[in-house]
Amino acid sequence: MFGFAIRRLLQAMIVMLVVALLAFTLFRFVGDPVNQMVGIETSIEEREALRERLGLNDPIPVQFFRFVTDAARFDFGTSYQFRQPVSDLFAKRIPATLELSFMSALFALVVGIPMGIYAGLNREAALSKLFLSVSLVGISLPTFFIGILLIFLFSVTLQWLPSFGRGEVVEVGSWWTTGFLTISGLKALVLPSITLGLYQMTLIMRLIRAEMLEVIRTDYIKFARARGLPDRIVNFRHALKNTMVPVITITGLQLGSIIAFATITETVFQWPGMGLMFLQAVQNVDIPIMAAYLLLTAFLFVAINFIVDILYFVIDPRLRIGRA
């Protein structure tokens, strides 16, 4: 188990390094940062001087080395737009994105899992078919369109829920702001969470259904029935637990993509998270922010993957003992 963790950690580091290289090289070709930093009336000499000062004229490997060593110290440089350290900016934005992602994931799981179980156990039931068809709508419409329609319905027409922002946030400790503690904060979470979670919910529901359908055909489920166990035990203790292994993998990966897809939802709802900042950075060619965002997403993804691997050990005794 320990050796396994070390190995995974090593792999993760390689992944991160490659991502860093990718991020760095890609961004070297996106737009011209100097144009973003200065106003429209700055002369060409001044621009050139700034370019020199920023090290944008150094040889590429030098720039990359600087990039990696700085990134390892969580120093992603200073944002061209905001004139602030990128790490500070992200520190302020991360709570918003994580709270949104958390709520969406929660929504996806809390709604998706029971629906999936039901549809898997009652394959032919009308309600299962309804679940399946309705959930398809979730993956048939682009996220941004769903978001806009929700705003149109719930904010503009019915005026029940806010259309943008996080509402009132409360500081918890010195580095976290939460919207969970105020009414307006909670209300503000509703529409974006649904928008973001709908797609994942659909996937999770379908995945659980498919896995359920397969598992209930296995010999051990047949044997469990032959032992006369009540349906409840067969379905939940045996079947559901066995569907969990693949479900965890995919859900884990999906969580990673929730954070990435938050970009769009945050744009639609003006949610002050990392994704919104990233998209603005792309538009303004704010290279430090873009680089940091990519590294951060990659890091979150790798971390989630790591946790998923560890979860396997908890769920699947075959691995737990087999590796030790």
Partner: protein, 504 residues
């Protein structure tokens, strides 16, 4: 009362000298003040300077207001003005041109400052309403004398904090998220507003911004897309304020290169032929654009400046829309079958910029010109077409507001000859060049008599119009959304000042 408003872009940082951009300057203008300011009608008024006079042709004297205190309690003195000039010229300043580098500052006494010029300049103070005076002690105490530069690892204090003399104090600022202001009780002027505080949120998406107004979450949003003006007006509790803006939108053509970069015409540059430029001009149905794209929220323009900024603008007329004449001109120039040309266009900078470019493309298609449209976000667009990108364009759409509200700025930036590197008319992307116009511009700069000056300007416009140096399209309109009970002044330069607001 608290005013909650949203703008399309963000207030990225608070240093008043680091970004010469309308919204940033406008937002900071509530906290900081200049020696002068402009009222609702954009007329120059005394602000931190109570009065000024040109004591000698090259010496301007400013009498500073007494008893003014910065938000931190420091007194405002001549020292601060001198310091502000110095800082304005510091490295990384984006507003250095507000005060020419050859201008010397002489402190006469605590509340009198002289500006000594190299030559006469009648428009010296035209842009000083957005040159904000900073507190010397505060800036020095917080180690913020140097203007932020991106390579600094620690942020400049002044980028995150503000200490001005203006009607509002800054309470908190989260870039891109929220900025909170509070009324400054010690303001020297009498407050006509009734606000206790202001909350600003940037909302990038048009639909979301409008929704936030319609749903009653915000008191004011701007800009609102022209198509939503009606909806905002029809909605109970909101209304749209529209008005003319000073910005002129125009098309430019590369007349400098011997061969166009983006065209199927090889070996020569069709835009060097004035008939081709004229054909392009006459192919454009400006009324159609006005009605269908701008929804009547635009003023077709015959010259490159807003009629509000030039008294004689009524003397000019647009070339008539006439596709047949355009076609004939093309034929005459030897392009009977038309040609193709790449067009660069921003898609998030001006009102309906991309839609205008598309419409232009289809109008030109009617006279046989195939336009390959490349519309992109402003950052990428400017990086490509401006000097830093090597003027990499053949045909482009651009908008311009003269910061000084004066035509010389236009001649200087857009019409004057330039060289390959951009010396000269730095934003004359197409590289139009006329020795006569340049000579006129030089005269205009030093002419102190307003009438003579206007005549010279009119002559310059006539010359460049005859050459079809650019194709002026229109002045775009302003459209702000306001909730019921909120009254405010909509300035034509698209600056929003809280001191004009009342809310009940």
């Amino acid at each position: 009362e608290t005013l909650k408003f949203a703008f399309q872009g963000a207030l990225n940082q608070l240093d008043p000298y680091s970004l010469n951009e309308t919204f940033t300057l406008s937002a900071l203008g509530n906290v900081y003040e200049g020696l002068t300011r402009r009222n609702e009608n954009l007329e120059i008024e005394p602000s931190l300077a109570e009065s000024w006079e040109v004591v000698e042709p090259n010496r301007w004297r400013f009498h500073l207001r007494e008893g003014v205190k910065f938000h931190n309690g420091n007194d405002f003195t001549a020292e601060d003005v001198a310091f502000s000039v110095e800082r304005l010229h510091g490295e990384g300043s984006d507003l250095a041109k507000r005060v020419g580098s050859d201008v010397k500052v002489e402190i006469v006494d605590d509340h009198t400052v002289d500006f000594v010029l190299a030559g006469p300049n009648p428009i010296l103070h035209y842009e000083w309403d957005t040159w904000y005076i900073m507190d010397k002690e505060w800036t020095e105490a917080n180690d913020a004398v140097a203007i932020t530069s991106a390579s600094d690892t620690t942020p400049n204090y002044a980028a995150l904090h503000a200490n001005g003399t203006g009607p509002f104090k800054l309470v908190s600022h989260e870039p891109g998220v929220k900025t909170v202001y509070e009324k400054y009780d010690g303001w020297w002027d009498e407050a006509t507003h009734n606000l206790d505080g202001v909350e600003f949120t940037p909302i990038g998406s048009d639909a979301t911004r409008v929704a936030a107004l319609l749903s009653g979450e915000l008191d004011m949003v701007y800009p609102i897309p022209v198509q939503d003006v009606k909806r905002v007006n029809d909605n109970a509790g909101t209304m749209a304020m529209t008005g003319p803006e000073l910005r002129t939108i125009f098309l430019g053509m590369d007349q400098m290169r011997d061969e166009l970069i983006y065209s199927d015409v090889k070996g020569k540059n069709p835009f060097k032929d004035v008939r081709v430029r004229k054909a392009f001009y006459q192919a454009i149905d400006i009324e159609g654009i006005k009605r269908k794209i701008m929804r009547d929220l635009s003023t077709p323009s015959a010259i490159m400046i807003s009629p509000f900024l030039f008294a004689k603008s009524g003397d000019f007329e647009r070339l008539p829309y006439d596709p047949d004449a355009a076609k004939a001109l093309l034929t005459e120039a030897g392009y009977a079958d038309g040609f193709s040309v790449g067009m660069d266009c921003p898609n998030d900078r001006y009102v309906n910029d991309e839609a205008i470019c598309q419409a232009v493309a289809s109008m030109l298609a009617r006279i046989g010109i195939k336009v390959d449209l490349n519309a992109q976000p402003k950052a990428k667009y400017f990086a490509k077409v401006l000097a830093s990108g090597g003027f990499d364009t053949s045909f482009y759409l651009l908008g311009w507001t003269p910061g000084s509200f004066d035509s010389w700025n236009i001649l200087d930036n857009l019409i004057q000859c330039r060289d390959e590197a951009g010396k000269g008319g730095a934003f004359n992307l197409g590289g139009y060049c006329s020795a006569e116009v340049d000579a006129l511009a030089d005269k205009i700069l030093v002419e102190n008599d307003p009438d003579k000056r206007d005549a010279l300007i009119a002559e310059a416009y006539t010359l460049s119009n005859n050459d079809v140096a650019h194709i002026p399209l229109h002045q775009q309109g302003l459209a702000w959304g306001v909730a019921e009970g909120v009254e405010l002044a909509q300035r034509a330069d698209n600056q929003f000042h809280f001191r004009f607001v009342t809310k009940n």
